[in-house]
């Protein structure tokens, strides 16, 4: 009997950060193969960090991504401070959260309004969307601008900020640099609430999966920079034990490593939806109320509703940023002094796309001897492929073009940052 093979290729996925492709093979109406092809060249950042002074690490790792550089800076300084035994004072800690709020706002606002909303309203691009929804797109762009403004004031510039130091900051902002942002952020908080209500009215595909959600968690705050790693099946571990519970593996079709749980061999889900599911009680009241108002399930297992979780987090970030902006008083100390020692340290923080793990070893002269960076998109990659295998039967009767669009839409739910994920290819060189 002749077998009926359909091959669907999305040669270059659009409206994602970086460059990747999708390969799907169907045989006799069944899904035979799904591959998220990551073909961006490896960037080898871990190797670049070896023998560099630890003070260079936050600025070097920030170059991994132009969208989420703060995440790389935060995971790196927290890991290095863990190795050095440095405790950052409360006011500096708040400033770091403020900087992270800026990144969440600019990254989420960009993805929600320019990359993802067009999927829900049937537009092929943000340009086409802007023709019919100019006010909503302008609102999203203004939110993104606010995030960038925070990064400029606190980080020195919006892309690849330069003010984050091991132990704190190189320079603290003056109060008169932050307070002018208050009125914009008051407008932004209400605009973010309005945007969430608008998007909550969209139609969402009926698709749920039994995910294993993973996120940093904290008893007293919505986790960004600190706290143990929690999973939805009850595991609670320190970040330093990440490698004991999660492992990366190489697959032939991707320059990025993929990740699975070590104990179960299962894929897992990172990002705003995981965070909201695991940390909903720690949301600030305005964000928690809004999640209830729009009917976001607890837990929500529909990946297409990640856009709602992203919107809630924009509200959360505005509310927290406002409270910090309003009562900020510069500390006398910009950064905590430390002494070099041979040590190892690890940390996980919450990048806009999910948990970002860094681990470093350093020598007694403050030089990096080993670096390991596990970005969220590479961890989500095998989860995305699992999702696609499960989702395809529901759309398999559609045309190839429709199937490709449906699958791209599902991939975009994860807001993948492919450039980030491709720094971690393990290269083996054999010489005859």
């Amino acid at each position: 009997m002749m077998s009926d093979v359909r091959t669907i290729r999305v040669k270059a996925m659009t409206r994602v950060e970086g460059e990747g492709a999708l390969h799907i093979r169907l045989r006799n109406g069944r899904v035979e193969e799904v591959q998220l092809n990551i073909f961006e060249p490896p960037r080898l950042f871990e190797a670049l960090l070896r023998s560099r002074a630890i003070e260079e690490v936050p600025d070097i790792t920030a170059r991994i991504c132009g969208i989420c550089p703060v995440a790389y800076q935060m995971s790196s300084v927290h890991a290095l401070e863990h190795a050095l035994g440095v405790e950052v004072p409360a006011e500096l800690r708040r400033l770091r959260r403020l900087l992270y709020c800026g990144e969440w706002i600019e990254s989420h606002a960009l993805h929600v309004h320019l990359l993802h909303v067009p999927d829900f309203l049937g537009y092929e691009s943000s340009l086409a969307l802007a023709k019919d929804f100019p006010d909503e797109v302008n609102r999203g762009l203004r939110l993104k601008k606010h995030g960038n403004q925070l990064l400029e004031v606190l980080g020195g510039r919006a892309v690849h900020p330069i003010n984050v130091a091991v132990g704190g900051f190189y320079r603290l902002p003056r109060r008169d640099e932050l307070t002018p942002l208050v009125s914009d952020f008051e407008w932004g908080l209400q605009a973010a609430v309005d945007a969430t209500r608008w998007i909550a009215g969209f139609d969402f595909p009926d698709f749920e999966r039994p995910y294993d959600f993973v996120a940093v968690s904290h008893a007293d705050e919505y986790a960004m920079c600190e706290g143990p790693i929690r999973t939805s099946d009850g595991l609670v571990i320190d970040a330093v034990d990440f490698d004991q519970h999660f492992c990366e593996q190489q697959v032939p079709h991707s320059t990025a490593l993929q990740a699975v749980r070590r104990d179960t061999g299962r894929t897992y889900f990172l990002g705003p939806l995981a965070r909201i599911n695991l940390n909903r009680e720690q949301l600030l009241p305005v964000a928690r109320r809004l999640a209830g108002e729009i009917g976001l399930e607890q837990p929500c297992r529909n990946p297409f509703k990640s856009i709602l979780a992203r919107c809630i987090e924009v509200v959360q970030a505005y509310a927290e940023a406002l409270s910090i902006l309003k009562d900020y008083r510069p500390d006398a100390l910009a950064r905590v002094p430390y002494e070099y020692r041979a040590a190892a340290g690890a940390a996980a923080t919450e990048a806009p796309r999910g948990l970002l793990y860094h681990r470093y070893e350093m020598d007694a002269n403050g030089l990096v001897t080993t670096a390991n960076i596990v970005p969220p998109t590479s961890q989500n990659q095998s989860q995305i492929e699992d999702d696609l295998r499960d989702y395809l039967p529901a759309v398999i009767e559609q045309t190839d073009e429709q199937i490709a669009q449906a699958c791209e839409r599902l991939v975009r739910s994860y807001d993948p940052c492919i450039s980030c994920s491709t720094h971690c290819l393990k290269v083996t060189l054999e010489r005859a």
Binding site: E17, G66, P134, V159
Partner: protein, 150 residues
């Protein structure tokens, strides 16, 4: 509210010939009058943050396309050539996409001119190539002349 000012943006990065937009912008800053605000940017998307209150926009960027390396081209928006020229960068919004989005939203200044400097079709993480470096001051003169600040 328009203030009648002109915004000149050098687009690029510190790497290789992609930095030519920044080099031109920095050189040009001292030669243009007070009506010009000169800035450098890595991402075209940031134009959407900066456009308000200007009624004239100039963007200088490296591009890959027809013409000898080091050639300066100038196009008034909208122009098909801007779509066809390959401006550097694969992430975020491209320069043509950012301009098109601004136009769609009614936020693009009345006059927009894109200055493209032709560069080779390769990535370099060293300094600017000798060809581009040798041409830079001449390109600055050409743009200043076109803007009435020869």
């Amino acid at each position: 509210m328009m203030n009648g000012g002109c915004l000149f943006v050098g687009m690029g990065s510190p790497y290789g010939d992609d930095c030519v937009g920044w080099v031109i912008a920095r050189s040009i800053a001292g030669r243009l009058g007070d009506e010009f605000t000169v800035r450098c940017a890595r991402s075209p998307a940031v134009l959407l943050d900066w456009l308000d209150n200007f009624d004239e926009l100039h963007v200088c960027d490296a591009f890959v396309g027809n013409g000898a390396v080091g050639t300066l081209r100038g196009w008034d928006w909208p122009a098909e050539e801007i779509e066809l020229a390959r401006f550097q960068g694969s992430h975020d919004l491209s320069l043509p996409a950012a301009l098109a989005l601004a136009a769609q939203l009614g936020r693009l200044p009345a006059k927009v001119r894109v200055w493209g400097v032709a560069v080779g079709d390769h990535a370099s993480f060293d300094s600017m190539s000798a060809v581009i470096a040798a041409r830079a001051s001449e390109i600055v003169d050409q743009i200043c002349g076109a803007l009435g600040h020869a």
